[in-house]
Chain length 335, copies 2
DNA sequence: CTGAAAGCGCTTACAG
DNA sequence: CTGAAAGCGCTTACAG
């Protein structure tokens, strides 16, 4: 491994000169610079980033912390982030959280391997974020909001998602409408439900307690919750359901079919996320599409602005969702 | 940021003692160690990994380089890698290749941000791998084989995959069988085809040139290639097709249905990969399952052994595939 | 325009 | 069992 020392010796100059030259400082004459560059090339010189970082230099590296890598969601997200990062001359690395070792990624951030990070993992506690914030590591939270120095956030308007689902079902003529929870401790679930419930209330509709089901965001849980519901309530059921995500909606549809009912004729179903599968099942799923690419883009943009010192202010951006109407919703039978 | 200097001052000892104590060296007395550990804790001390790396210390970090993040494939792969990495006390970071900037991830490796890496990206050239090999950065190639110092590889037996598909279709009674290429320059496609063709030849069957279609691994290309084939050849067609991946197989099935024929009654279809969608389409797809979790596991295992100096030898591991018979294959009509 | 020197935060032979 | 000191490869005021 060639170092600046080797270059200095070969060029017959001091290491300071080499360092300045390699950083293209105006202090050094063009002639000397060129000589040094040439030698650096010959020696296949690669700067040691650790030595550089020790002196407090930026690394032009940002991190993305996720707790899982799955589906087209991440692909788009990463694309959104990278498109911006490249423009700014930064590289991206991804940390995939370990289920039972959240500290791992925090350590990585603590070690300043990256200049700043985008956090999508809900596993990282508020305390850890606070610690990173105190250490001046710029952070952008995705799908989550915490007010702290050096911490910005970009969230998706889940509440509005719930609202437009409510409006869609109401306008089709549904009056008895149910909801399937994903997880009771999930912010996303909570805000989706809130927007949904409030909008229905505005229209004079209260969700019947019997029509509130509980799943855990998986297809199987959606299947079970719906099956259980149908077996218990027979024909006295809601004419439409909003499920907190697509996976559960797909499970629910299976259960409905198996029970001998039809979607959407007997029950309309709406999901959330617009996953790839939602267009492959029968009937195609009506759902809410999240601007995932934009989520990545705005988050990266915000992070890089913080890193470049352009906007020292923490900001909080909210992105809008969109209703995608397909085949799983229709007016109820009696309308 | 507390440093060992701060700890030393507070403890009234030298920085060497602090360093030894923090590294739990037997040289230091238990009493001193405990005092130092306590102070380190109080000061919320975090070692500076750059300083450490500068001295040539390992970072206990490995990297995975991919050119795209998609689908359940990566999720399983990452899980396989992490399960092993955790056992060895290593963390994983993922570099997502940029389409037009392959050098980016090579730079990252060159900078020794990680101790070693797993390479899944075919974009990284042989020259770059050679350069990394020369710099003594242990590498494990996945789905690719290059003989070089410090470079191991774990590959999936694509050839066998082709072979067992051929055998399956032959045993069902098919005698005129076609193949749909994914990409002509893809090693994976090539070896799948090779295994397929050779096995058919062993059975006395030569693939008719007309029955060899060309796609590009996407669903759309599979749809187009099959549509085109059917329109051109009318009823004089193969009774079964092996498509180089599931996406194309799914596209092909759409085209066949649209043309008014049935799968598997008129044409049997086999894919490769066993993606999630393959069980959701109608008919469910017969396909080849790759041991993706194991791919990650073995690759990580090999890398960590190289890092720990347990096996300085480069190895090349080959993993077996498996036929998953579902609904898209059946004996041909005339049998 | 160039160089000598201090220093970033650690590790580790060496001496005692 | 503990400490003084060199050194890892850079950057950067400072002096000339």
């Amino acid at each position: 491994m060639a170092t600046i020392k080797d270059i200095a010796k070969k060029a017959g100059v001091s290491i300071s000169t080499v360092s300045y030259a390699l950083n293209n400082s105006p202090k050094i004459s063009q002639k000397t610079k060129e000589k040094i560059w040439k030698i650096a090339n010959e020696l296949n010189y690669q700067p040691n980033t650790f030595a550089r970082s020790l002196k407090g230099k930026k690394r032009n590296l940002i991190g993305l912390v996720v707790h899982e890598i799955r589906g087209p969601y991440y692909q788009e997200l990463v694309r959104g982030i990278q498109d911006v990062a490249v423009m700014y001359g930064y590289n991206l690395i991804i940390f995939c959280e370990l289920e039972n070792k959240e500290a791992a990624s925090v350590d990585l951030l603590n070690n300043k391997i990256v200049d700043g990070a985008l956090l999508l993992s809900s596993h990282i506690t508020r305390e850890h974020i606070e610690m990173l914030s105190k250490r001046d590591i710029p952070l952008v939270l995705m799908d989550r909001k915490i007010k702290m120095p050096k911490v910005s956030s970009v969230i998706i308007n889940n509440q509005k998602g719930g609202k437009i689902v409510a409006r869609h079902l109401y306008e089709l003529g549904h009056r008895r409408i149910g909801y399937m929870h994903g997880a009771l401790d999930s912010m996303e679930d909570k805000t989706r439900f809130k927007g949904f419930k409030n909008e229905l209330k505005n229209k004079g509709i209260n969700i019947d307690k019997r029509d509130i089901l509980n799943g855990n965001f998986t297809e199987e849980s959606g299947y079970k919750a719906m099956k259980n519901y149908l077996e218990k309530n027979g024909n006295n059921i809601a004419t439409a359901f909003f499920c907190a995500n697509d996976e559960m909606a797909i499970g629910a549809i299976s259960a409905i079919k198996e029970f001998g009912l039809n979607v959407p004729q007997d029950i309309s179903i709406v999901g959330f996320d617009n996953i790839l599968l939602s267009t492959y099942i029968t009937p195609k799923l009506t759902t809410i599409k999240r601007p995932v690419y934009d989520l990545g883009k705005f988050a990266a943009y915000q992070l890089l602005n913080m890193l470049d010192g352009k906007s020292s202010e923490e900001v909080s951006i909210e992105l809008d969702v969109e209703l995608v109407i397909r085949e799983s919703t229709e007016k109820p039978r009696n309308v």
